[in-house]
Symmetry: C2
Amino acid sequence: MSFLSEHNILIFLLQLVLLLFAARAAGELFRRFKQPALVGEILVGIIFGPTIFWRFLPGLAVSLFPDNAIQYSMLETVSWLGVLFLLLVTGFEVEISAIWKQRRSSLTIGFVGVLLPMLMGIGLALLLPERYMVDPGRKLVFVLFMGTAMAISAIPIIAKVLHDLDILKSDIGLTIISAFTVNDILGWVAFTMVVGLATQQRVNWLSMLRVFGGTAVFIAFSLTWGRKLVNRAVKWINASWLPKPGSVLTFVVLLGGLCGALTQLIGIHAAFGFLVAGVMAGGAPAISERSRETISQMVYAVFVPLFFVSIGLRVDFLANFDWLLISTVTAVAIGGKLVGAWLGARMSGIPQRDSFAIGIAHTPGGAMEIIIGVLALEFGLINLVVFEAIVVAALVSSIAVGPLLSLALGLRRAFNALEFFLKDAVVANLKGSTPFELIGELCGSISEHEGMPGAAKACAAVRLREGIMGTGMEKGIAIPHARMEGLARPVFTFGRSSKGVEWNTADGLPARLVFLILTPDPDKDDLQVKILASIARVMEDEKARREMLEARDRKEMIDIFSAALRRDRMMRARG
Amino acid sequence: MSFLSEHNILIFLLQLVLLLFAARAAGELFRRFKQPALVGEILVGIIFGPTIFWRFLPGLAVSLFPDNAIQYSMLETVSWLGVLFLLLVTGFEVEISAIWKQRRSSLTIGFVGVLLPMLMGIGLALLLPERYMVDPGRKLVFVLFMGTAMAISAIPIIAKVLHDLDILKSDIGLTIISAFTVNDILGWVAFTMVVGLATQQRVNWLSMLRVFGGTAVFIAFSLTWGRKLVNRAVKWINASWLPKPGSVLTFVVLLGGLCGALTQLIGIHAAFGFLVAGVMAGGAPAISERSRETISQMVYAVFVPLFFVSIGLRVDFLANFDWLLISTVTAVAIGGKLVGAWLGARMSGIPQRDSFAIGIAHTPGGAMEIIIGVLALEFGLINLVVFEAIVVAALVSSIAVGPLLSLALGLRRAFNALEFFLKDAVVANLKGSTPFELIGELCGSISEHEGMPGAAKACAAVRLREGIMGTGMEKGIAIPHARMEGLARPVFTFGRSSKGVEWNTADGLPARLVFLILTPDPDKDDLQVKILASIARVMEDEKARREMLEARDRKEMIDIFSAALRRDRMMRARG
């Protein structure tokens, strides 16, 4: 086995330190201003790449980025690990069971939300002059690819935006995430097909059959028996003498590698295999949230930033700048997805206001659009000018979505959650030791008050909702909720469990403060979202949390919480 | 930027899946039989490398491991990340402050324990015929290297063995770990110097000065101001708006990369930089045990196994097998370290029996001996025959240490910890909210009984010991302890804290069951170790832990614990 030279390792470490530091710093700076980190990370790549650094300091650039295949392959390997792992952890956020339970809305929004922008992308590509194509003889592949690129959205961006707005765990958050999942899978399948087409030099029916048939079988198997097998394997690991969580981490990485190799063998890209592996691992209840977090944290802290930086290193963004193409592609990418998802939402009977929010939520292209752009570039489907337009469209749409969504949902306006707080139903000492038992106690306590639904009915609704997607948040908080037909007015209360109850949260902490929200169905003014966001925001305050946990009695807890809600409202009214 | 081809990625994924799966499975199988995982991982490499697979199935081997520099560099990059990260997390286990507080014994054992085996290694190398040398003209470098290789020990192996014997947190565990740290640092400094010598083609005083002076300045700075700066930087991150733990993870990886690049620039190997970075990060109180665990888990689950596998891929172990050399090197490697550390322990006034145990604990070469072997091979200091002998010596010594140490400490014999259990001092409801307060309550409770030391005196001793190295274990258990001059007989008791107290444990769980052990000083029969091991073993039983936490009163707690101790003793008497 040949050895990498000491000089290779030195240069690699220097590249690693410089790029990782700059990318992470820029990423966090962007995140601070509620912008996606990837925007900062890509900018750092542009600064250190051919666009600026290599142009103005070519001497220094050559010594830091020497033109040597072995050297390149080191950084490339790490950045490839970044993409593959990014798709793996993106898959974690996909909730197949949530889609199934909400199949009407998620399938309609997903399908229409992909179809419409895809048609618009195809239309755009047909209108483009031939100079934008790498090979005008393969116009079909180019046109189909542009359709796909305009239709794909990025789950991680929207999950982060919903999380920042404190509504990830609300019903509209759930609808958005499950529709996105369908969108993601459809978009990737379409892209995969395009790549399958592109790699066939001559159309050979047998090999085409292998690609399409293989993909269909792979997806069908993975999302049905595959998921069950994965869960059973992890259950076996958990019950065995193998050390936890190390063995589960290895298992998830192996699963990614295996699916990646399989998809490569089928003739589609390994990235799709990692995405599907992530979906399988994300849907396995036997894998704890904690294990997934360990992988996600390392991936986002080290590997993903290096991938986004490497994009800027590939392309001279100044030499390939075409403002007309960039603005057209951006407009189509945003407009197509917005209108498509909005239409899908309306078609599945969601009210106008929520449909609009869902449409906006679908616009960010983010990492997904960029990744398929990189792959298309690699396969020779597009040239650098088109690639740059796609990257810019992905960035612009990712930056815009947060502010737009917050406006659309009216979350900016001061809102008085106190009106709906049923103080008399607060429970100072919850006794149960499972989420279901705690939900039962809180529903029981609410049902004792006038105008409130019976305990059994409320309980069933909240538990059903909890079963679709857990409502445990970080820092020992859980906010179960449900919409109920015929409920007279929205109401919420809370209870405290001094011993804490395991709620499968991301930080692994047991839930000790549990809030329960009931809103009428339909919930025209999105009160559920607003109440939930208020509670989640107030509970981010460590002092309030601690005081509520240490309070001696019900009254003290109620006073502390009410005061915190009042402070929050005043601050928002002012700011 | 050039792209890795799709075929490169496919082969890489296939290698990854195959090697990672086999290595992890073999590693865990070995671990199950209380053997170091690295033995299994290296065996897998030997099976898949030139020794077996390439010899018997050359056709298949070429398609899975094609002879292509770019392809090699992908697997090599990941395996390099494995070594570098392994040294980083090894550094975590080094406790500079513990050495300083125990400086007499740790420095004496460390120095003598390196010097003696080094001299023996030098003697061995001088006696070796010239055919074992790569370049007989550079005999000096070869001889010095062999001295170093015979002197270096592996902290991770011994930490694991002590952990498996449940005595990592005992006083003898502390002495072993701090002496090992000195051993590690001295061994690496010596190796670094040898590499510095080796890379100078002609002895050039200026460049020699740069290497030695640079190394000295780097070490001196890192272990003094460097450590403080690191802690301050992390404190700043913790207090800032940056997301935790992601930013801390990035910081630690960056620190490794920076120190690695610095040491490369000085002219010594990047591996040493990562080790020192790990020491700095491990000693920073601002970095939580949890963040370090996240890195360690990913590193051990994915990257380290790939490094050990890659060793077997480098060498044909059959073609380079020399049993005479192997047995001589193994005997010298084990004997030299055993005698050296034993002598050092005796010189620092440690009783005969403990000194012998300390000597045995120093024998495993483990990963460290293998890593410097790999580097020496790369620098052309040794040939494949000598490399193989070093690897085998490292493996044999790592396999032998566990059983030998257990024998030497007499841990195999059934032991009745119940004799020393002061039932009347059990505290059902500890009130304090810091480790120091809880230690105070337990010492107070013990001091009320006849023949027991005053609360203030006991408290001071236990807190002093706690300050040297925390005694928080996993699963909510802590076992503070101390040796006290003039104590009539060993004694232990425990208390329960229903709210739990933050004790900076590896799994982040607050301590809820706190045991306090006092033993006379000197502790001739190693009763502290035996009591501590018994308690730790009994508390691994989840049922006993839960029942003690849920017990209604003192009496019930005492009964449950006594019964568990009795069961444990009977099982050991039988088995």
